[in-house]
């Protein structure tokens, strides 16, 4: 009898152990989870995983550059199963902490770390931006379109070169007005300045603006509504924010990337190395939904699909700012 009891206890203990939830730590960039853009996407992916896969999620926001490493360290010390760093700024921290904690898995979005326990999630932003540029050009009546970037860094320039290539692909005679909000991390969170820049561009005759600036984007949407012009959102689907004035959003599916990584870990399929998300696997795409169906006709979508397949088949080469820079 006693032995039987012990056996049952043992069994229960075993079952209890195997059902223990995976612990996932999410380190967000300074924009914070409410930026309705880049970080929001990551946060959504992780919360979806929490709901559907039954993992335990803890997210934090970095206070400064040096605190990022500290956050990763603390997660590792607490034996989290997977730590996901969101944003290029965390690359060094992930590299360092991952090397010291080979038994903990890491993932980094927008950064590249080669280690046996790190998966790097990269996006082909220039491809999506090319599409956005093509659509912007189709919708522009003034032959003048605008681009507003957040922080002036190579990644945001990559959006810009893809975008202008898309515009020029439609019609070489177009002019593109390019502005950046700033040079500090504040640029991701400065809607007021974004609005000023947007109003200025509209004043110059621009009638479609693509904005890649995290939480600052909302300022551009305000300006679009005020001046009855169009804007294009970024990262998350932002079409709902000002229906009728947001032509589309260039999706960067950070949510899918985060979700898939967590799911892979749970299924024992976690692999290290680089995973690229491009047009092919819908890692970058344009958002079409009920909020912008009046702005983009079925005919337009057909044209875009054509461009998309051409890019995937490499009939159109989209200039990549990273490669240009290395030359």
């Amino acid at each position: 009898m006693l032995i039987k009891n012990i056996l049952i206890l043992f069994l229960v203990a075993c079952v209890g152990q195997s059902a223990e939830k995976l612990k996932i730590g999410l380190v967000l960039d300074k924009g914070g989870k409410e930026d309705k853009s880049f970080n929001s996407a990551a946060y959504q992916g992780a919360t979806l995983a929490e709901k559907e896969l039954g993992i335990e999620l803890k997210y934090v926001e970095a206070t400064d550059v040096n605190s990022i490493e500290n956050l990763h360290r603390q997660f590792a010390k607490k034996k989290f199963d997977l730590i996901i760093g969101i944003g290029f700024a965390q690359q060094e921290a992930v590299k360092k902490v991952a090397a010291q904690n080979p038994d903990v898995k890491f993932a980094i979005v927008d950064g590249e770390v080669s280690a046996a326990n790190v998966r790097s999630l990269l996006f082909e932003e220039h491809q999506g931006s090319f599409l956005a540029g093509y659509l912007a050009a189709m919708k522009s009546k003034t032959k003048k379109v605008g681009y507003i970037g957040g922080m002036d860094i190579p990644m945001i320039r990559r959006f810009a070169t893809g975008y202008s290539a898309g515009v020029k692909h439609f019609d070489k005679s177009f002019t593109i007005v390019e502005n950046y909000i700033g040079i500090t991390a504040d640029s991701w969170n400065n809607p007021a300045k974004a609005k000023e820049l947007a109003l200025n561009q509209y004043q110059q005759g621009v009638d479609v603006i693509f904005v890649a600036a995290g939480a600052s984007g909302s300022g551009v949407f305000d300006a679009a509504e005020e001046k009855k012009h169009l804007a294009i959102g970024v990262d998350s689907n932002q079409n709902w924010m000002k229906p009728g004035f947001i032509l589309t959003s260039m999706l960067k599916r950070v949510d899918t990337a985060v979700y898939t990584t967590i799911k892979d870990l749970q299924n024992g399929q976690f692999t290290s190395g680089v995973v690229r998300y491009g047009l092919k696997d819908k890692g970058v795409d344009l958002a079409m939904d009920k909020h912008n169906e009046k702005l983009v006709s079925a005919d337009d979508i057909k044209k875009l699909e054509k461009i998309k397949t051409d890019i995937i088949a490499q009939k159109i080469t989209v200039p990549d700012f990273y490669l240009q820079k290395k030359k």
Partner: protein, 354 residues
């Protein structure tokens, strides 16, 4: 030490707010203590923050002493950092002793320039130092990002940062302090900052120049009559202020990372204002208060991980309440015992972060 009661009161208020938010105040305290002393790495990181805060705290307080409000420490340390990195990039082949001396000299010179500019403008054109230093903050941020994005960008990184400067410009190779704290960023400049604070203490209590500087701050026209040129001291104290701020840049560039990262300073310059005010501008008090601020700053991220409700923004509320407590004590002291401190700046009580 007069502000210690105020500190306790502020801490008490903060813990009450935490309690209302549904967290156990004792847990919060223990997390904060663990976060700063928990391991060698944690303690090292706290000391690293502390080093920068001592420098910026001293920088702000030296200006205060002569009745000036330097909110440009942020820009001064920024400019100093970018100058040092640019210099090291331009002359990578310099050999050991001269390279280190040269980069220190450049750092000091850059900080001094960025401090002297508002000083000169104030003394000879009457421009208010608050406006000028604030604008210089933006200018130095602009200069550094221009240089980074156009010339110095680290080719291996997405981050807006410079490449790492040559070993000969850094102290890492012979840093005995860092060896006690493996992996953590604390470095020799911690000792330098303590020594600087002590030196500034003696500068004001023992030296004639220091005395004259305070005299200008207390009453410029009286000082003028006693044959102390207030113009000269406005320039001098802001220059000194800039030099002290450059210490925070050296802590990062020479002592630790060897590169300029945009955003490397979580606004040390502004936190320095809080540190200086908390300490009534006493250089030795600055050491203590820099430590307190760094514990809270370091603790902010740990509280975020360990608790459900205390996010990094909530930590700012805690910091603000502690500051408030210390500030309150200052006013009580002032009205109760009629101690006269330079009163013109005391109305401004900025929070740790702007």
């Amino acid at each position: 030490m007069k502000s210690f009661l105020g500190f306790l009161f502020g801490l008490f208020c903060a813990l009450m707010i935490v309690f209302i938010a549904g967290e156990n105040p004792l847990t919060i305290l223990s997390i904060l203590i663990k976060s700063s002393f928990g391991s060698k790495y944690d303690f090292g990181l706290t000391l690293f923050y502390m080093t920068s805060l001592i420098f910026t705290g001293l920088s702000v307080s030296v200006a205060f002493k002569s009745g000036l409000f330097n909110i440009g420490a942020e820009g001064q340390l920024n400019f100093s950092a970018i100058a040092m990195v640019s210099f090291a990039m331009a002359y990578p082949q310099l050999g050991m002793p001269s390279s280190l001396l040269a980069i220190l000299f450049i750092g000091v010179l850059a900080g001094a320039t960025w401090g002297a500019l508002p000083g000169l403008l104030k003394a000879y054109r009457g421009s208010h130092e608050v406006i000028v230093t604030m604008m210089l903050n933006f200018i130095s941020a602009g200069i550094s990002s221009y240089l980074i994005s156009q010339y110095l960008q680290n080719p291996d990184s997405q981050n807006p940062e410079s490449a790492v400067i040559a070993e000969s410009f850094r102290t890492n190779s012979f840093d005995f302090l860092n060896q006690f704290f493996p992996e953590s960023p604390v470095n020799l400049f911690f000792l330098v900052s303590i020594a600087t604070a002590i030196a500034i203490h003696f500068f004001f209590s023992r030296s004639a120049v220091g005395y004259e500087m305070i005299a200008v701050g207390e009453n410029p026209s009286a000082a003028e009559r006693a044959n102390i040129s207030s113009k000269k001291f406005v320039v001098l104290s802001l220059t000194l202020s800039g030099i002290l701020a450059s210490g925070a840049a050296m802590n990062e560039v020479i002592g630790y990372s060897g590169q300029y990262k945009i955003g490397f300073s979580p606004e040390f310059g502004f936190m320095g204002i809080a540190v200086a005010l908390m300490s009534n501008n006493s250089p030795l008090g600055i050491i203590a208060n820099a430590f307190i601020m760094s514990v809270f700053h370091k603790g902010a991220s740990d509280l975020d991980i360990e608790t459900e409700t205390i996010t990094k923004d909530f930590s700012k509320v805690i910091q603000a309440l502690v500051l408030f407590g210390v500030g309150l004590q200052y006013y009580i002291n002032k009205s109760g015992f009629k101690i006269n401190f330079p009163g013109r700046n005391s109305k401004k009580k900025p929070k740790g972060n702007s």
